[in-house]
Symmetry: C2
């Protein structure tokens, strides 16, 4: 086992500043001295450095859209091939799969109001909420990641207050993180009723003592950079298992509602209009086979 640490590093709280990549590496916050992603395919990624590599990166502070590595010409920096879901890119995907926290470090060369004026600053832990492929400006595929800041004052694992505030404020936070979040809205509740809590893929209806349970899945995701809408024509009703498989792109949906990647077709009730553009968006960005073939 490697001694890779996922989470905070002792003695370097959020906000710690470093003069150089060498200093950052010596502190253990981000060990590689050149690569933007620290991690391995098997363990996941423990940290990233934002230093302005990709023009499409977005940074709202608590939400970041980050681009994977590879496929660029070493001299010109231009994209000359598609990125693969391997090495650091796969490590970051693994961090989502395993629910691992990723340390985010911003460098002064990162084009954002959130960057430090000089050097590098450790800006705390983020979770990889989502990843997908995208056709970049040069026509090649790139892998992109949506990172969301982990709010750490919530639900300490050791909730009994102690006399030592330091202990109370740092309850195992190297280990605990959030793996899977499903948001619910009025529209989500509507679609559940429309399908009477049955999964549109397998037809299952999970029972609890308070009633049936099902999840509403957004076809084109909400939030940057997808900006899918929270409306019925962008929602389908799925059991948790098929929701996971849909979000990871293990299967997708053709325009005629037949399923891609798994057998069968999506069940649809008459008064549920699905926006075909949203299905196309999901196929293009999430469905696994397509991008890998490039």
């Amino acid at each position: 086992m490697s001694n890779r640490i996922f989470g905070h590093i002792s003695d370097y709280p959020e906000g710690s500043w470093f003069e150089s990549r060498v200093a950052l590496s010596q502190a253990g916050l981000h060990r590689p001295r050149i690569a933007g992603i620290s991690g391995t395919e098997s363990e996941g990624a423990d940290s990233i450095v934002l230093s302005g590599g990709y023009e499409d990166d977005e940074d709202l502070g608590d939400e970041i859209v980050y681009t994977g590595h590879g496929g660029r010409d070493q001299d010109t920096g231009k994209q000359v091939a598609s990125q693969k879901l391997t090495r650091g890119n796969l490590a970051l995907a693994k961090s989502k799969l395993q629910g691992l926290p990723v340390r985010v470090i911003r460098g002064s060369t990162h084009k954002s109001d959130n960057s430090p004026p000089v050097g590098y600053r450790y800006d705390g832990l983020y979770r990889v909420e989502d990843y997908w492929q995208e056709r970049g400006r040069a026509g090649y595929y790139i892998w992109r990641y949506r990172l969301v800041k982990i709010i750490e004052n919530q639900t300490p694992s050791s909730p009994i207050a102690t006399d030592n505030p330091a202990t109370y404020l740092k309850p195992n936070r190297q280990e605990i993180t959030v793996l899977r979040i499903v948001r619910d809205t009025k529209q989500a509740r509507q679609i559940k009723v429309l399908y009477d809590y049955h999964c549109q893929v397998c037809g299952i209806r999970l029972q609890s003592n308070a009633g049936p349970y099902v999840e509403a899945a957004h076809i084109r995701p909400l939030g940057i950079p997808h900006n899918g809408s929270d409306s019925i024509n962008n929602l389908i009703c799925l059991c948790p298992n098929h929701h996971v498989l849909f979000d990871y792109g293990t299967f997708s949906i053709a325009d005629d509602l037949s399923l891609l990647g798994i057998k069968g077709a999506l069940t649809r009730v008459e008064n549920h209009e699905i926006n075909i553009d949203n299905l196309r968006y999901h196929r293009e960005h999430y469905f696994s086979i397509q991008g890998e073939a490039n």
Copy 2:
């Protein structure tokens, strides 16, 4: 459709104070003038008032353990029968199932450092993270709820900053909430490897482009008041569907690892010791049939 509002009520931000239950009702924050739970079995619960009814209630501020209603003698206040998962109790369970936010109001008679000195104070939105049954001091079953404060500065639904800060800070927050959270720890990752990402109930192994996906379920939950441990002998490896069904107590596990409520038996590898006391805890507090029969 009723005009019940889930979420904040306009003009009454968190911290708003009220002299009486009548004033609270007129503001629309908690409409019933006597009942502690506002809501219906079909819609869910939109608000609760903490006013010190049950001696076992716990209040850590951001986490609250709340007791349902019913089964008490009107004169003496003593528990004389088991509580049922009906009316307000079922409404609160429904709020978990549907991921609805619950307004929490603390009254001065609520025994906690967090109570206002006089009157009633609106203390913001909580989600129902969990509910279960428990044998109370008088030997009758009561229903209990774990409520966790919703942190609202995270992931606004309309993430593009506008010139109007008021718009930016209140993005549909009446509608958006968190439905399902799965925490991941080192121990959780260990058990996934132990079962090679197969569900111990149905054997399924969900595939993604970054590897297999499975969830680690705590048998006896973490946190107050259960205080289950985050150790391998308190964990099982489940697909998301069976995780949901286990957490809601649709099925449980006997000491010999046969399943209760559904057919089959839990698969177990030799080097995975399961603490029998944790299985008993789950059966007693979560397995549906038992408490309902009382």
